[in-house]
């Protein structure tokens, strides 16, 4: 009886399918590209045939291996993601004011944007810093600036995310010593430093040393923070910049995870137990406009990380398997034409991040294709997250797209492509050798050029850019940083250098160089140099004299 019914159902569904196929063909398709932004072809319809037999195992339950459906058992029903907007501008005192304003409005997670010179390990008075001081973030030259940045803010009461990579060791040391001066021990400090130097060579391009010594400095920091900073996320492995540089979603996924595995290997090489440090690794992804591809990327990322950590690196602690990540909407997707439309773009991207299960989110402001955001634009961006969280109902159930034939098939495809890239990287001899050969950069440049070509050939659409073109650019008010900031910051630096014990600074810089040469952990002498108010430029230069500088071979 049952068997007969089964056979009849199957016959029915087969005839239904051919009926639909015939009807579909008859209707015809509109003239459009049916593929994801990264070129994965999309079928008109997905059915159970598009998912594998082991789909249930590949999905698991939220908070359970392989975490495809989320890292926590209750996800947003337990706690919403953290709204973590990035802030920093002008001088430390300016940013301190902004921080206090944010804290008084209930925010307890601060996120520091440093200016370009600080990101490059340069002092404000360096010739290369001209025009950049305090412009895209806050200028921090010395411990004094860090103390000013957190003046009146209990460093044991806030969690701080610092977007810093090449001189991350110096800025971490400044954070630790500034806290010490408040009577707060490193054990009590919570937060994250980005500290992802590998993606700098691949995409962001703010570096100091060649990759090998950079990994040495990373190992030193990892060893230090594993021992002294149990609440500190030692690295935020970042795909964001890789995507902004023009990569596809699959490239972002693959190159970021490959970098993550390289950091795991660095920890193991430093003699640490993987379960002692991997739980303090976090991730940072981009959320772009191709809605389902993005969701699939986030879901695949969790599954790959858990699998590789368990099977290749022998992680035993569940915490080592969890991929926790922050997301930022795609800056590169915003247009200068009709900037108000960027609110809609950002909202869709935020929704993809939410449906992908992000732990924390930054939504871009509508005016970011024009300048640093105004306060009003930032407020609209925050409101976009709040509307998604509280009005749309998407947070009422966990992984609402789980089991969607399409989303599961796309998740599997993203996973497959990531493993293909891992193989290609292995064939180059690993992440660093691949970087030295320009592999990732070439792949990204190709993808970026392909996408641009598709846009210009009209195969991809960008509203008010190549379709429904804007008549003219809308006027929006933009934020500007006064030029006096640079002059004042340079003056403060000159004053500091005249007040501190310069002979002592020189002696401590020599000790930093000695550690670089001997192989001792560099973090300890850097802490001493920072304590004596050596600047970020002085410490970075001292280390560069031993480790050498990096210059890339440009790839067009």
């Amino acid at each position: 009886m049952d068997t007969r019914r089964g056979a009849r159902d199957s016959r029915n569904s087969q005839s239904s399918r051919s009926r639909w196929e015939a009807a579909y063909r008859e209707k015809g398709e509109r003239d459009a590209e049916f593929s994801t932004m990264s070129g994965i072809p999309i079928k008109p319809l997905y059915t159970p045939e598009d998912t594998d037999d082991d789909q249930d195992e590949k999905l698991g339950y939220p908070g359970e291996y392989p975490y495809t459906r989320g890292v926590y058992p209750s996800m947003y029903r337990g706690r919403l993601w953290t709204v973590r907007q990035f802030a920093g501008y002008g001088t430390a005192a300016d940013t301190n004011e902004r921080f206090k304003y944010l804290i008084s409005n209930g925010q307890n997670g601060l996120s520091v944007a440093f200016d370009m010179p600080t990101l490059m390990g340069l002092d404000s008075d360096d010739a290369m810093s001209q025009g950049e001081v305090g412009r895209e973030g806050v200028a921090v030259d010395s411990l004094e600036d860090m103390e000013r940045l957190f003046d009146g803010i209990g460093m044991d009461e806030v969690s701080t995310s610092m977007t810093i990579n090449a001189p991350a060791n110096v800025l971490l040391a400044m954070y630790v010593v500034a806290a010490e001066k408040q009577g707060v021990q490193p054990e009590a400090l919570a937060g994250t430093n980005q500290n992802d130097i590998l993606k700098e060579y691949i995409a962001q391009k703010e570096w100091l040393f060649p990759p090998e010594p950079s990994m040495r400095v990373f190992r030193d920091m990892l060893a230090y923070s594993t021992e002294h900073m149990p609440k500190w996320n030692t690295v935020s492995i970042s795909g964001y910049h890789i995507r902004e540089a023009g990569s596809t979603a699959a490239q972002e996924l693959a190159f970021t995870l490959a970098d993550g595995f390289a950091y795991v290997e660095a920890g193991i090489e430093a003699g640490l137990d993987v379960d002692d440090f991997a739980p303090r690794f976090s991730f940072f992804f981009n959320s772009h406009l191709d809605f389902f591809e993005e969701i699939a990327k986030f879901r695949a990322a969790r599954r790959i990380w858990a699998t590789v950590m368990r099977d290749r690196y022998g992680a035993k602690s569940e915490k080592s398997l969890l991929m926790r990540f922050h997301t930022q909407t795609a800056g590169v997707s915003l247009t200068a034409q009709e900037p108000y439309n960027n609110v809609a773009r950002t909202a869709f991207e935020a929704m993809a991040a939410i449906l992908g299960g992000t732990q924390s989110l930054h939504t871009n402001s509508l005016d970011e294709a024009l300048a640093l955001p105004t306060e009003e634009a930032v407020r609209i961006a925050v409101r976009t997250q709040q509307i998604a969280a509280l009005e749309t109902g998407v947070t009422n159930t966990i992984d609402p797209l789980g089991g969607s034939y399409f989303v599961e098939a796309l998740t599997d495809e993203m996973e497959r492509q990531a493993y293909e890239y891992f193989e290609a990287i292995d064939e180059h001899g690993g992440v660093i050798d691949a970087i030295n050969a320009g592999y990732q950069m070439r792949e990204i440049a190709e993808a970026s050029a392909r996408y641009q070509r598709e846009l210009e050939e009209g195969k991809r659409y960008m509203v008010n850019v190549n379709v429904y073109e804007a008549e003219e650019e809308s006027e929006v008010e933009t934020h500007a940083v006064p030029l006096e900031v640079e002059r004042d910051q340079k003056q403060r630096l000159t004053d500091l250098k005249s007040r501190r014990d310069n002979a002592e600074v020189d002696r401590l810089l020599e000790a930093v160089q000695e550690a670089c040469r001997s192989g001792d952990n560099t973090m300890y002498p850097v802490l001493e140099a920072v304590r004596a108010y050596a600047t970020v430029g002085e410490i970075s230069t001292a280390m560069q004299q031993v480790f050498g500088s990096y210059r890339e071979t440009p790839v067009i």
Binding site: E132, L334, L372, P554, I556
Partner: protein
């Protein structure tokens, strides 16, 4: 005899966002021009020197760090000082509208903001440098 148009595409200052610079470099090359890409972290002095040494017809500056009002006028001034003010200068990047006008007043030929098709840069150069249509 007609010569090929030569363009220096430059990233000036500390900004490392080179997607736009590379896209423009490729587009100009695909349009038959000779492109010299400087790579990252160039000073205005280095860019002008490259343009003079390469006998460039135009300099395209890509800048997203907000330092354009310091660095771009410096390039224009240096070109004038070296008697090379026939070199056309154009910019691309995150540049507010108010600054676009100011840069044009200072002698920058065109400013392309995000989302501009590369064909517009090609058209601009062809118009700015009619003598060397290649």
């Amino acid at each position: 005899m007609e010569q090929t148009i030569r363009v220096v595409v430059a990233k000036v200052g500390l900004d490392g966002h080179d997607r736009g610079a590379k896209i423009i470099a490729r587009a100009l090359r695909d349009a038959g021009m000779e492109v010299i890409y400087t790579g990252l972290h160039q000073t205005p002095e280095q860019v002008v020197e490259a343009a003079i040494q390469e006998d460039a017809d135009a300099i395209g500056i890509s800048i997203l760090s907000g330092a354009h009002m310091t660095l771009v006028p410096r390039i224009v001034d240096l070109l004038a000082e070296q008697g090379a003010d026939d070199v056309a200068v154009f910019c691309g990047g995150t540049i507010p509208k108010g600054d676009v006008e100011k840069l044009k007043e200072l002698g920058v030929g065109e400013v392309f903001t995000p989302g501009t098709p590369t064909t517009r840069a090609v058209e601009y150069i062809r118009e700015a440098i009619p003598a060397r249509q290649g």
